[in-house]
């Protein structure tokens, strides 16, 4: 039966999966916002995202600025109160969202496309984006909530580890700070600094608009115009400073009253559009990016039962994002788990991948390509990434070819050049053995 299943699998693999990628329309509004649109006529709904180069990389001396600015948008706009803004969206079943990370700050809207719902939702959405009032009472409340959020982090070993890891990895670079800020900076924030942040970065030339839904292109053009029409033209945000690589390995141990030790290990990784993206992406897929079938999962979980979750990933950003490894294990096994993690990485760099592993990885990535784009929200997510980082419009079409063209040699060469196992930052947060 085993043979049976395998031959059967192989037979199915011959059927080449060749599904069409979504048709992307791209244009610019008259005030300079970049718009990306995919028509999805099947469900009478639309997903809208407006993304600004206004994440925590722009925080300067006061980490938390970008996040709090973003959170203030729906707290008051064109004289409408927080309560009324919320009610205006929810009265028509629309969902408003906001978020702010290192590179991107975003607001989003999901609504039905029938005029009775979409029209009021869009009107409110546009006001929130372009006519934010920044009421003082809201500022004070959100500031307190951010401080409480920072306290909540301190009871989570994984959050403590992430903060320490980023601080060490990025040193003086803006990526060093967490988007949530830190106690001192959040206490120092003031409403004038948020307003000036808003005026500088929430401008048309710094905006990308994503539309996925049951509207025609003509309607999409009108919707995009309506959303951003009142945004000042402004300027695109300047390039952020280059990340300078750290050169020394370091281990940070933080004591925490937990039964497990959370281990984060890593170094600088890659940028969006990086020339080494595909060899490193496919290589990491084999090493620690493919869940239960990755080498790390096999060594740490399958063979030794050391951790429920073990992973590695590149997070490509505008500048060099992290290449990060993580696991969590009982305190008395932490040293053992760390050494298995290190040895697996070393052996991966030294030995590279086998032809069979590479075939399996390509089959996994390309054979499931349609799964990446099987919902409006996933398509919107990809468009946001492509639009924000200026990736080519044929990204979807060429993705599979790019993956398929990766060779065993390229992976080995790229890993030797880009990944230094003896130069990792390691953070361990947990209790005593």
């Amino acid at each position: 039966m085993t043979t049976n299943i395998i031959s059967f699998t192989v037979a199915l693999l011959i059927s080449i999966s060749a599904y069409a990628s979504p048709n992307i329309a791209h244009w610019q509004t008259s005030n300079g916002a970049q718009v990306y649109f995919v028509a999805a006529p099947e469900l009478a709904m639309i997903d809208i995202e407006v993304i600004f180069d206004a994440g925590s990389a722009r925080d300067g001396q006061l980490p938390g600025t970008a996040l709090l600015t973003n959170a203030m948008l729906n707290e008051g706009a064109s004289g409408i109160s927080t309560d009324d803004i919320a009610a205006k969206f929810e009265d028509v079943g629309a969902r408003f969202g906001n978020s702010s990370q290192r590179d991107m700050a975003m607001i989003s809207l999901r609504s039905l496309t029938a005029e009775e719902q979409l029209k009021p939702a869009l009107k409110m959405f546009s006001s929130v984006l372009t006519q934010a009032d920044f009421p003082q009472t809201s500022f004070e409340r959100l500031q307190k909530q951010m401080l409480i959020g920072l306290q909540a982090e301190k009871q989570s070993p994984s959050a403590i580890a992430a903060r320490a890891f980023n601080a060490k990895l990025y040193g003086d670079h803006p990526y060093a700070a967490m988007p949530a800020g830190e106690d001192k900076s959040v206490k120092t924030l003031n409403i004038e600094s948020l307003k000036s942040f808003y005026l500088q970065y929430y401008v048309a030339k710094n905006a990308v608009v994503i539309l996925v839904g049951a509207v025609t292109k003509q309607q999409a053009i009108a919707i995009a115009n309506q959303i951003v029409a009142k945004l000042p033209v402004g300027k695109k945000a300047q390039a952020i400073t280059k990340v300078v690589s750290i050169q020394t390995a370091e281990k940070i141990v933080i004591e925490h009253p937990s039964t497990q030790t959370h281990i984060l290990m890593g170094q600088l990784g890659i940028k969006r559009g990086d020339a080494d993206y595909f060899p490193l992406y496919v290589g990491n897929h084999i090493l620690g990016g493919s869940g239960l079938v990755s080498q790390l999962s096999n060594e740490i979980r399958e063979k030794r039962g050391l951790s429920y979750s073990v992973y590695s990933y590149f997070r490509p950003m505008r500048e060099l994002g992290p290449y990060q490894f993580g696991l969590q294990t009982g305190n008395d096994q932490a040293d053992e788990a760390l050494s298995v993690l290190q040895n697996t990485l070393v052996s991966f760099i030294n030995n590279g991948v086998t032809a069979e592993e590479l075939i399996a990885a390509k089959q996994n990535i390309t054979g499931g390509f349609a799964l990446r784009l099987d919902s409006n929200s996933k398509i919107a997510g990809y468009l946001a990434m492509m639009g924000f980082y200026g990736l080519p419009l044929d990204y979807f079409e060429t993705f599979k070819d790019q993956v398929n063209s990766v060779t065993v040699e390229q992976i080995k060469e790229a890993y030797i050049r880009r990944v230094q196992a003896d130069n990792m930052i390691t953070v361990m947060v947990g209790g005593k053995k």
């Binding site: 059927s15 599904y19 028509v92 009775e116 719902q117 909540a152 039962g305 429920y308 054979g367 799964l371």
Partner: protein, 456 residues
């Protein structure tokens, strides 16, 4: 305003019948149920197999065994080596996983549409031919120990939730956690897993749910081919385990290392599945009530407790009307700095009293109804979620068609009914309160150079 709302609801209510038209139900001779929902938006298919077994089927001493068995289902069968299931799915571009709840254990694969047979073939194999190997069990038990540490032991709120359930439920199996008590996990033997597998894993105790770009009759033919030959089993009859009547308010404290206080309140409530004599609209009125309190940023909790009097840093309400056994209406939250858990609790009680003494406004009620109707459209963006809805209803013994009737049942709820359930169920005799008391701890940090070099 009201008329406008009714128009909206009328429009959105047209959708369910259209949705239902795409669902087909079959039953194989061996008792396996197959439910297929065609959704041709993308060339993918999700295949889920739902077993009627979960932590609420377990007794003390083997708690968490359903979840442990879920892990072992990846560790080899008569014809598949450990982890080979996952490798085959991966080589076919699939995503897969499994999850265990109080009332079900489910396994799923998402694949490009022409690869459904791979999922069926593999699932049929492990439905009847699992091998519980001692050595594999010992390793995987360690993995589950780590999982429990990660999910519960080191998370103060999860610890509180666990103690809360163990207090609110005395003899109902909702008393114990899905993942099981640590002592039980540490002591599973192969025989425990074998017996559990033998008892519950059979075609007549399972439902296969397929959603995606498929033809229902072709799926039925595939199901007959792969699952058809499997033998049914005489599955065990569950004892009713009806929770004893609560006679008064229960209060507990958990002291754990934490930085923030947290509290939970829960009242015993009926669910759709357990309603016999009571009016059948009650669970839907409770669902609407949850929406009035916590259905978005305009709902009462956000408006009055987070903004308004600024007493809560965060507070939420939740109620699951589709569980197998009677459950709880839950409220949980963190007070802002300078306020105590008792202050927050008092503010919540004030909110509850208001629901008892005054009717909710027509606008609030309509807003909840509109949100439910629009959510029914949004949910269709995910094939996986559509499958979840069907599978969850099916495994608790309800009809999957309830997911469509759900919207209509919500639309029928009146403001008087919301008040009636508030008066009937938010009573001290049904109330359990749990409070997390933070135990202080310091921040200690050491930085050290990497000492000895490893043998690279």
């Amino acid at each position: 305003m009201v008329i406008k709302f009714k128009q909206i609801i009328g429009l959105t209510l047209l959708l369910p019948s259209f949705v239902m038209a795409n669902v087909s139900e079959y039953r194989l001779d061996n008792g396996l149920k197959l439910i297929v929902k065609e959704d041709h938006r993308a060339p993918v298919v999700v295949s889920q197999i739902w077993y009627k077994v979960g932590s609420s089927y377990e007794h003390n001493g083997i708690t968490g065994v359903s979840h442990m068995l879920e892990h072992m289902m990846f560790k080899g069968t008569e014809n598949l080596g450990p982890n080979e299931f996952s490798q085959i799915i991966a080589a076919n571009g699939g995503r897969e996983n499994a999850f265990t709840g109080q009332d079900y254990t489910a396994y799923f694969q998402t694949l490009e549409k022409d690869r459904l047979a791979i999922s069926f073939k593999l699932e049929a194999e492990r439905m009847r031919k699992l091998i519980i190997d001692d050595a594999e069990l010992r390793k995987e038990r360690d993995v589950v120990v780590e999982e429990r540490r990660m999910r519960t032991e080191d998370k103060p709120r999860a610890l509180l939730r666990e103690a809360f359930n163990a207090t609110a439920f005395v003899n109902s199996p909702y008393h114990h956690p899905v993942i099981g008590w640590m002592s039980d996990i540490n002591n599973y033997q192969a025989i425990d897993l074998q017996q559990w597998y033998q008892k519950w894993y059979a075609p007549n105790n399972a439902a296969v749910v397929v959603v995606g770009d498929v033809d229902a009759d072709e799926v039925y033919a595939l199901a007959k081919q792969y699952f058809g030959p499997l033998q049914p089993e005489i599955t065990a009859q569950l004892k009713p385990q009806i929770e004893v009547e609560q006679k008064g308010k229960r209060t507990i404290e958990i002291h754990a290392p934490a930085k923030l206080p947290y509290m939970m309140m829960g009242w015993k409530t009926p669910v759709v599945n357990t309603l016999t004599d009571e009016p059948v609209w009650e669970p839907y009125a409770l669902e609407v009530l949850a929406g009035i309190l916590d259905g978005g940023n305009s709902a009462r909790f956000a408006r009055d407790l987070v903004r308004g009097n600024e007493i809560a840093a965060g507070v939420s309400a939740g109620y699951d009307l589709f569980s197998r056994l009677a459950g709880l209406f839950l409220i949980a939250g963190t007070p802002v700095k300078g306020k105590t858990a008792a202050d927050l609790q008092q503010a919540i009680i004030t909110q509850i009293d208001l629901l008892k003494t005054e009717l909710v406004t027509e606008q609030e009620l309509e807003r909840v109804k509109v949100q439910v109707a629009t959510s029914a459209v949004y949910e269709r963006d995910s094939v996986f979620y559509q499958g979840m809805q069907i599978g969850m209803l099916e495994t608790v013994g309800l009809d999957w068609r309830l997911s469509d009737a759900y919207v209509e049942n919500i639309q029928a709820v009146t403001m008087q009914q919301v008040q009636a359930v508030a008066k009937k169920y938010f009573i001290d005799r049904g109330l359990t309160i749990a409070e997390l008391i933070p135990m202080p701890f310091g921040d200690q940090k050491m930085t050290m150079p990497v000492g000895e070099k490893h043998d690279y």
